[in-house]
């Protein structure tokens, strides 16, 4: 049997582990998949709850450009494995600690995208909104956020894919995700390692597709029609 066919077989059918005594593969993957999704969902949700309001505020007052961009760069530069190791070393193992590490990983793309989205929102529309008597909160809610929403969703999409991929190292901190068969090949066998890798990849691709769809869904209708009329809109004299 080729390795690939073996990996597929591992995904579909239970078998005894290499070390004996426990069943792995097939149905036994479901709890790992569930934990993986849960970890991703909680991490991204917390990241959204922190990054979106912060970036909306920074973007609205027009300050913190340096913060928004440097957070993004730092986020990209710090390896997530190091981050998890750091949390394990100082806070110990467990779901909460892994979640915290993944939240830190998820924040930068959301923060940067939201900030840029707000700053890119039609400044004339914002000026008109202020001039007609909207309060700051009303401007954010009715003008800046709707116009930034496609970019916000784009940031979340990037974060979700990153977190799904990175959650594979969670077993090192004591949370059994789909990363477990990849890390513990001694228990799951090489078919198990490849099978789990395939599952994680499929999960990431599915998440990417789902969020691409969502991103299109949240793009305001008037903005999607600007695409055809973009050239004429750019022609306004200064």
């Amino acid at each position: 049997m080729s390795e690939f066919a073996g990996a597929i077989d591992f995904i579909l059918h239970e078998r005894e582990s290499q070390t004996g005594g426990t069943q792995v593969g097939g149905q036994q993957l479901l709890p790992l998949l569930w934990d993986h999704l849960q970890l991703t969902g909680v991490s991204v949700a917390v990241a959204v709850a922190i990054a979106v309001p912060l970036a909306l505020w920074l973007g609205h007052v027009g300050r913190g450009e340096l913060l928004a961009t440097s957070v993004a760069n730092v986020g990209r530069a710090v390896p997530s494995l190091a981050l998890i190791a750091f949390f394990v070393a100082y806070l110990g193992v467990g779901f909460t600690n892994v979640t915290l590490a993944l939240v830190l990983l998820a924040i930068p793309p959301i923060l940067t995208n939201t900030y840029v989205g707000v700053r890119q929102a039609d400044r004339d529309a914002v000026d008109a909104a202020r001039g007609m008597g909207m309060t700051g909160a009303q401007i954010v809610r009715r003008v800046e956020l709707p116009l930034a929403l496609p970019l916000v969703m784009g940031g979340i999409r990037t974060s979700v894919v990153n977190v799904i991929a990175t959650a594979t190292i969670a077993p090192l901190a004591g949370v059994a995700t789909l990363g477990d068969p990849i890390i513990a090949a001694g228990v799951y066998g090489t078919e198990g390692r490849l099978g789990a890798a395939i599952l994680v990849a499929l999960l990431a691709v599915a998440a990417e597709a789902l969020f691409a769809l969502l991103q299109r869904e949240v793009t305001p209708r008037g903005l999607s029609s600007t695409r055809t009329a973009k050239t004429s809109r750019r022609l306004k004299p200064a």
Binding site: D122, D124, A125, V126, D127, A128, A129, R130, G131, M132, G133, M134, T135, Q138, R142, V143, P146, L147, P220, R221, G222, L223, S225, T226, T228, A229, R233, K236, P237
Partner: protein
């Protein structure tokens, strides 16, 4: 009970009274700069008047306008809307009662035209029925198709978007409107049309309007009063268009209004405002001797042949007068014929275009009431007369 009464006064049926606007020794200096952008500016705008702020770029005209709705905070002085300081209430609340139109329009791209127009009523918490009715009314008022209501701004032309901008600013029927180069980004043909439409609208609504432009011709056309500003936010002259053109306060204003200010005045006058020549009218069948006698009494060398209702048919020549009795047709046609309500500039253009010196002037029924001559116009301008009427009255007769 009182609050519902106030709300009713803002409603679609009852137009609110226009308000007065007064700038009292207003100055603005930005922090970190020692040169003021507005220096000790005082202006009074009467209720229902269009006050145009005009001047070269950097003269602070937009800043002055934006201080009225506190988009820019003044450093000293005070601004009174309807006798009440703009600082007497929260900025957002003040702004909801002042219409605001900017050159870039700033429509909300993610909202339909209807939603854009409904923005201020929504802020004011109007119920849905009242808002819907007001939106329909405004879309018709600014001359837009009702079907555009559900379109998005990106699907509209520049002129249509500007009309939506005006409709949105009028939504709560504000007694005061601020307009910052509202037609600046529109092509010349549509700009002229929008200007006329706005003036006609103004004739009905009688808002107090602060209108910013850098274009002196637009200022002369739109303004009841014009404030010419110099760099540094100094008021150079505040006067009616005719005063500005006949008596510029200083060299700066004179330069700014242009060397052709005499010609510009023609746009402010109508044919009926000048002293027309009495026309030597003759009808068919009259003895030519009588026609000659009438010509001798008039300023004109030839008599004008008119029909039974007094409508001009043509100019009689020496050859026509050689006969015993006047016969039609006349040697040359009456063209150009000008209407007594026509703008003097247009009438003069017609005469020059036709290569003649004078033209018969007719009333609404088409009957000849006199003759407009280039000499008369020249003489009239030399007098320095400052006859004028409101811009919206002029726009009402403009084609």
């Amino acid at each position: 009970m009182t609050s519902s009464n106030t709300a009713q006064a803002e409603g679609p049926d009852a137009y609110r009274e226009a308000t007065t606007l007064e700038l009292r020794r207003v100055s603005k200096t930005y922090p970190g700069s020692d040169r003021p952008v507005i220096s000790d500016l005082s202006l009074e705008v009467g209720a229902g008047e269009i006050c145009v702020l005009v001047g070269p770029s950097g003269c602070g005209k937009t800043t002055a306008m934006r201080m009225v709705n506190r988009m820019v905070d003044m450093t000293s002085g005070d601004i009174l809307v309807g006798g009440r300081s703009v600082r007497a209430r929260p900025a957002a609340k003040l702004r909801r009662e002042i219409g605001y139109v900017i050159q870039q329009i700033g429509l909300f791209p993610h909202q339909t035209i209807g939603e854009n127009v409904a923005a201020v009523p929504r802020l004011l918490g109007w119920d849905r029925r009242r808002t819907e009715a007001r939106v329909d009314e405004l879309i018709a008022l600014v001359g837009l198709d009702a079907e555009l209501r559900d379109r998005y701004p990106a699907q509209l032309s520049g002129g249509q978007r500007q009309r939506v901008g005006v409709a949105r600013a009028l939504a709560s029927d504000p007694p005061l409107m601020l307009m910052d180069e509202p037609f600046g980004a529109i092509d010349p043909i549509n700009r002229e049309r929008l200007q006329n439409e706005f003036l006609r609208l103004q004739g009905r609504l009688r808002k107090t309007v602060v209108f910013v432009t850098h274009d002196i011709d637009e200022a002369i056309k739109m303004g009841d009063k014009i404030a010419v500003m110099k760099v540094g936010g100094v008021l150079a002259q505040y006067a009616s268009p005719a005063e500005l053109l006949t008596a510029p306060a200083d060299e700066f204003v004179e330069d700014f209004v242009g060397a052709d200010r005499a010609l510009k005045r023609l746009a402010l006058l109508r044919v009926r405002d000048v002293d027309l020549w009495r026309a030597p009218l003759v009808r068919e069948g009259e003895p030519t001797a009588a026609a000659r006698a009438r010509v001798a009494e008039s300023d004109l060398p030839y008599p004008l042949l008119v029909d039974a209702d007094g409508r001009p048919l043509g100019w009689l020549s020496e050859r026509d007068l050689a006969r015993e009795r006047v016969r039609a047709p006349a040697d040359s046609g009456p063209e150009p014929v000008v209407d007594r309500d026509a703008v003097l500039r247009d009438a003069l253009a017609d005469i020059l275009q036709a290569g003649t010196q004078y033209a018969p002037v007719v009333d609404g029924a088409g009957g000849a009431v006199g003759v407009l001559s280039i000499d008369v116009v020249g003489h009239f301008l030399a007098q320095g007369d400052t006859t004028e009427e409101s811009p919206s009255a002029r726009a009402g007769v403009d084609p």
